[in-house]
Symmetry: C2
Subunit: 277 residues, 2 copies
C-alpha cells in the first residue's frame, strides 16, 4: 500500500527485535520492513543461516535500509541481549516454567513503560520452523503470545514481528483508535437547512403530482422527511442534494425532451446558492 | 512459529477479504495464511494478474488450503461485493470525500457488530503498488487505515490483511488482553512460608559469620528480607529456594573441600520437605 511521506522523519527507538537463527534472508528483510512500518529500528540477528550482511534481505526490505544497515549479528543469544534490561520471548506454544504470559497489547504497554523509564528492552523471535528453544525462552523475563486461531497458529516470522511493532506503535498513541488522517470535519446540517431541503423537494414533487391522493399528502410528506432525516446529512451534502433537485426540477414534465423551457417555479437567489455544490 | 493444534476446528465466518487486482500470486497465498491465523476464511479476488486458481498461491499459503480452495474470482469489484451489506476500504492515503476514517480497532468492532447482526461484511485491499483507486474506495461505506510510521507507510499486502484479521479476532475476545494459554496458576507465598525462608537462610548465613559486625546484624537482616520480599515469590518458587539453601548449607565452612561432614544444624522433616522442589 502506498502513502509514504518521505519528508517525514523516520521514527526510531523502542524495543530491539532479536531474530534467533532466522533461516531465510527474505524473512529478515520483511521483518525490517515491518519494523519500519511501525517505528522500530534496532534489529539484532543471532547466527542467521544465510549470513550477514545479505543482499536478498535488503531487496525484500522494500527500502527499510536504515533497519538493514543498522542490523547487528551475534554468535549467541546471550551476547545479543547482554545489554538489555527486559526481554520478552514470543512463542505460540505453552511452555513449562514460571514466566508470565502476556498478550501483544499488554506486552506493548510494558515495553512502552520500560522504554520511557530509560530501560533497554527487546523481543525475541525464534526460527521460522520451530520457534525458540526452551532454554532460549528461559533467558527472557516474560512471554508474549498471539491470540491466533488454535487450528492455524503458525505465524510467518515477519508477521509476528509486525504485530508486536503495530501494538508498540499503538501503545504510544493518545487513543488506540487514533488514525494518521481523518475524514472531513463536517457539521451535521441544521434543522433550518433540512427544512429548506424538504421545502425544495416537496415543491418540485408537488408540481409533478407526486403527493396523490391529496388526503394522503401529509403521510407521504412524513415518510419522505423520515427517509431524508435518518441519514444525518452533513451541511455540504445537503447543498449537493439541493443542486440535484434543482437540476431535476429544471424541466417541466410537460416538456420531457428538455428543449429548455424553464420550470414555472421562479429560481430565487437562495436556490441558486444552494446549487453551488 | 509452530504451535498449531490440528485437532482444533478451523474458525470461519467474519468479513470477506477482497483483493483488488493482486499482482503476485505469492501475496495471495500469504494473505490466505494471515486470514487463517486469525479466523477469517472467505477470500475474493478481483482480476488477479496471475490468474486463478494458482499453485504458487497455494504453496505460499502454508497449508491454509481451506481459504485457497474457497477463494472466488470476479471480473469487477462491483460483482465481488454485490451481496455484501457493509464494506470497508483500506488505504494509507487520505482521500477526498465524505467517508468516515476508522482505525483497525474501530473497524473490527464495527465488523463484529454487523456480523453478529447478520450482515454480510467485507474489507477491500488494493494492488501492492498503488492500493485502491478513488472510484474503488467510493464503493465502500467507510475507510480503515493503519497507524503506520508516516515516514514508512507502505504495508505489505498480506500484512495489511493480517492487521485487520488480528483486530477482528481481538474484537471477539472477552478481553483484548486475553491469551490462548497463560502462565502457571500460582499462589504468592504466604507470609509464613516467607518467614520460613528467612529463618532457613539467616541460620545458614549466621553459621558462616555473614552478619558481621554483630551490631549491624539487624540492618543486614532487614536488607536481606527486603531483597527477598520485593520479588513476590510464588509458593513453589520458595520451595525451590529452600532446596537451594539446604544444598549450600550441607557442608560447613570448616570443611571447604566438602569431604562429607554433615552440617551441625540438624535437618528436620520440615527442611527435608522444603527441599522437594
Amino acid at each position: 500500500m502506498a502513502g509514504t511521506d518521505r519528508s517525514r522523519e523516520i521514527e526510531t527507538g523502542g524495543p530491539v527485535v532479536v531474530l534467533v537463527e532466522p533461516q531465510l534472508a527474505e524473512n529478515i528483510g520483511m521483518v525490517a520492513r515491518a519494523m519500519a512500518n511501525f517505528g522500530l529500528s534496532e534489529l539484532r540477528l543471532v547466527a542467521p543461516r544465510d549470513g550477514w550482511p545479505n543482499e536478498r534481505a535488503r531487496a525484500s526490505a522494500s527500502r527499510a535500509d536504515h533497519v538493514i544497515d543498522g542490523a547487528r549479528m551475534f554468535a549467541t543469544l546471550g551476547e545479543a541481549i547482554a545489554d538489555l534490561n527486559f526481554v520478552f520471548a514470543t512463542t505460540a506454544r505453552e511452555r513449562d516454567g514460571y514466566k508470565p504470559v502476556r498478550s501483544p497489547v499488554d506486552a506493548a504497554r510494558t515495553l512502552r513503560g520500560r522504554s520511557e523509564a530509560g530501560q533497554a528492552t527487546g523481543v525475541l523471535f525464534g526460527r521460522e520452523r520451530w520457534g525458540l528453544l526452551n532454554e532460549e525462552v528461559a533467558l527472557a523475563d516474560e512471554i508474549v503470545t498471539f491470540p491466533v486461531n488454535p487450528a492455524f497458529a503458525s505465524l510467518n516470522l515477519a508477521q509476528a514481528v509486525l504485530l508486536v511493532a503495530y501494538e508498540w506503535m499503538k501503545s504510544g498513541l493518545e487513543k488506540e483508535t487514533a488514525t494518521p488522517f481523518s475524514g472531513p470535519e463536517m457539521e451535521p446540517a441544521s434543522k433550518d437547512q433540512m427544512q429548506g431541503l424538504f421545502d425544495h423537494l416537496e415543491e418540485a414533487l408537488d408540481a409533478r403530482g407526486y403527493f396523490r391522493p391529496p388526503d394522503k399528502k401529509a403521510k407521504l410528506v412524513d415518510n419522505l422527511r423520515a427517509v431524508l432525516t435518518r441519514q444525518g446529512f452533513y451541511e455540504p451534502e445537503v447543498r449537493v442534494l439541493r443542486g440535484v433537485i434543482s437540476s431535476l426540477d429544471r424541466y417541466t414534465p410537460e416538456n420531457p425532451r428538455g428543449s429548455g423551457a424553464p420550470t414555472a417555479r421562479p429560481r430565487t437567489r437562495k436556490n441558486a446558492d444552494d446549487e453551488r455544490a
